[in-house]
């Protein structure tokens, strides 16, 4: 039921104390505004980081080699060692928990200066030798052409896929790179694809867009890497935690390369599952903190409203007494005061909510023009959270009004009328 008089009464009462109403409302406004901004910022950080790793296989682990740290079976400590092709064949054949396994060569020797040439254009790019399975662990999307495939690896084809920046640097805008040749560290490769990275996790350093990937077997032959492998990625079969697979592989590799079983340094590895959990806990922590601080600020605002209502009631004791003398029931008086308090909190809270969301939206627009590199994306608050915040406001408004309202009706009307407003 819309009661015009009730609202007229509320507005005139609030208008009579303009400054105080404003200051009180500001407390609530600020509380909800901060809650929204902080929550949105927390979410933006989460989005920014998670966007960069979401597409990455969460059941993946990575292995490289480090010098040994303990002497073992006649070898001194500090021995340099490296994976080779037989390791891969052995692991593929004997470790059933492996889903994908993708060895990689880093073209460190090919990285000096402008290593890529095409006519008059030159550029310095990162060169990797990869298996097609790599794209299942760290996804890339072909913008033009295709990714590397099994036949490229099998035949040691001299083909390459190139990152966007490589295409921009080495080709004119109107040129189609597909089918063209690039001279990479002295060897000609045919471009079969231009690719875009889906994640920001970067193995091997440098910008991901400045990558040239060639078939693993081609890389070993063309640049004299023999049967060396610098690095490999695995994913675990569904049902096997990747941490478990990581431990198993480490044991196997140590045995094959005569490394002490208690050498914690020699087999370098990294496990996305653990990192993923860490991130999730971090962002949960940020959200919880946001709520604690936000609710605290909001509470301060609500206490302000309750306080101001008490003062208003004190000032209006006489008026309330008159109203009751001419027939206002206590429930009617309570309704008035509570409605006033709810009105104040909800209006202030709604403005806070709207401004907060508006500011986040502005920020969003600004960030969207900022490109891919920013780890701060799509600041947003969920609809659920906005509704929850509004509910908190209404409930706290009721409570803030109820306390002074109870007090107001506990005074006898006659005492109220006699009250000279002191």
């Amino acid at each position: 039921m819309f009661d015009l008089d009730l609202w007229k009464e509320i507005l005139s009462a609030l208008k009579k104390n303009r400054l105080r109403s404003f200051m009180t409302a500001f407390g609530v406004f600020w509380g909800i505004f901060m809650l929204i901004i902080m929550s949105g910022a927390g979410r933006a950080l989460e989005n920014g980081v998670m966007d960069g790793i979401r597409a990455f296989a969460t059941n993946s682990a990575f292995f490289w080699t480090e010098p040994t740290s303990t002497p073992y079976k006649g070898f001194q400590r500090g021995r340099q060692w490296i994976y080779n092709n037989t390791d891969i064949a052995y692991l593929r054949a004997n470790v059933k928990e492996i889903e994908y396994l993708s060895p990689r060569l880093f073209g460190w020797r090919q990285r000096s200066g402008d290593n890529t040439i095409r006519g008059e254009k030159t550029g310095a790019f990162n060169i990797y030798g990869d298996y097609p399975d790599y794209f299942k662990i760290d996804p890339w999307t072909p913008l033009k052409g295709r990714l590397l495939n099994e036949i490229d690896v099998l035949h040691g084809r001299k083909v390459c896929v190139i990152g966007e920046r490589v295409a921009e640097t080495m080709f004119n805008k109107e040129e189609d790179p597909i089918g063209e040749y690039l001279k990479v560290a002295g060897v000609y490769f045919k471009v079969v694809g231009v690719v875009h990275p889906e994640t920001r996790i970067n193995i091997g350093g440098g910008r991901k867009e400045e990558t040239i990937m060639i078939p693993f077997t081609t890389m070993q032959k063309a640049y004299n890497y023999g049967d060396q492998i610098h690095f490999f990625s695995v994913t675990s079969q569904p049902g096997t935690p990747v941490s478990q697979l990581e431990e198993k592989l480490k044991t196997v590799l140590k045995e094959r390369h005569k490394i002490a079983p208690d050498d914690r340094q020699a087999v370098g590895s990294f496990n996305i599952e653990v990192e993923w959990k860490k991130y999730n806990r971090l962002f949960l922590g940020i959200q919880v903190l946001t709520w604690i601080v936000g609710i605290g600020t909001l509470l301060a605002g609500v206490i302000g409203v309750s306080n101001i209502m008490l003062v208003i009631i004190k000032e209006r004791t006489q008026e309330i007494g008159i109203q009751r003398a001419i027939g206002a029931t206590p429930s009617k008086v309570i309704l008035h005061i509570v409605a006033e308090s709810v009105f104040l909190t909800v209006v202030a809270g709604y403005i806070g909510l709207a401004l907060g969301v508006g500011l986040l939206e502005l920020l969003n627009v600004a960030l969207e023009n900022g490109g891919d590199e920013i780890f701060f994306r799509r600041p947003e608050v969920s609809f659920k959270m906005a509704v929850a915040a509004l509910n908190v406001l209404v409930v706290s408004g009721i409570i803030a009004g109820l306390i002074p309202a109870k007090r107001a009706v506990s005074i006898k009307p006659i005492d109220a009328i006699r009250d000279e407003g002191i």
Binding site: S12, A13, E319, I322, A325, I326, G327, A328, P330
Partner: protein
């Protein structure tokens, strides 16, 4: 209309108990115009508050228009006040941020009368009291007499059986006082019971029955026929002073 029997009332503040009313028995018939007089502290305001259901009493019984007024809930008391009683106060007690019309219409709002209807009625009552042009004015723009007339209109609008007035002329000059009293007499002639508390003898003299309180008890009741004698005694009292 009103029947009081052996009403006792004490105010307790801390350890002190102040026995204000010490057994008031009183009957007021419908349509009477009664004034309550007495020195300050004699309990006249307390009596009026009990009559108006604004305060409760400790002992005895009080019937108003057939209803026993005792230990009733605040809600019921508010409803009965709204139905049966109209109040006029010494300090007018208009609501400061409402204009004259809204002030008069307020009791009807609590009765649940629609806005249009109650504003129409309020205007009618303001017109009767000669305040039609002042309907849109705020209380602080009205003179004392006008304010009291607005308050009277507000008391009348819910068509009460009894109007209780606490020193209705206390804040007015004698000329305006007489105007207000004339107005109250007119209202009384329409059949509404009127009870006023006053300490002014000339005001009391315009009523049909004077109840004199002294130390929380009824000292004497003077009927209009005896007013001549009352006036004589009153002057004699003055002479001795």
């Amino acid at each position: 209309m009103i029947a009081l029997d052996n009403i006792h009332k004490s105010y307790v503040t801390g350890n002190n108990s102040l026995h204000v009313l010490k057994g008031i028995g009183l009957e007021i018939k419908g349509g009477e115009f009664v004034s309550i007089m007495g020195p300050s502290g004699s309990g006249k305001s307390t009596l009026l508050n009990i009559l108006g259901m604004l305060d409760n009493y400790d002992e005895g019984s009080y019937y108003l228009a057939g209803n026993l007024i005792r230990n009733m809930s605040e809600k019921r008391a508010a409803q009965l006040r709204n139905e049966l009683v109209g109040f006029v106060f010494q300090s007018f007690n208009l609501i400061s941020f409402k204009n004259a019309l809204e002030n008069v219409a307020l009791p009807l709002y609590y009765k649940g009368v629609s806005r249009k209807k109650r504003n129409l009625m309020a205007m009618e009552y303001l017109e009767r009291l000669g305040l039609k042009e002042w309907a849109g004015h705020m209380p602080n723009e009205l003179s004392g007499g006008q304010k009291q007339r607005v308050a009277i209109a507000r008391a009348l609008i819910s068509k009460p059986k009894v109007i209780l007035a606490d020193e209705p002329t206390g804040a007015l000059d004698s000329h305006t006082s007489y105007e207000v009293m004339e107005l109250l007499r007119e209202i009384n002639r329409e059949g509404i019971t009127l009870i006023i508390v006053t300490h002014e003898h000339d005001i009391a003299a315009m009523t049909s029955k004077i109840i004199r309180l002294k130390d929380g008890m009824i000292h004497e009741i003077i009927h209009n026929g005896n007013l001549q004698e009352f006036r004589y005694r009153y002057t004699k009292q003055l002479e001795t002073v």
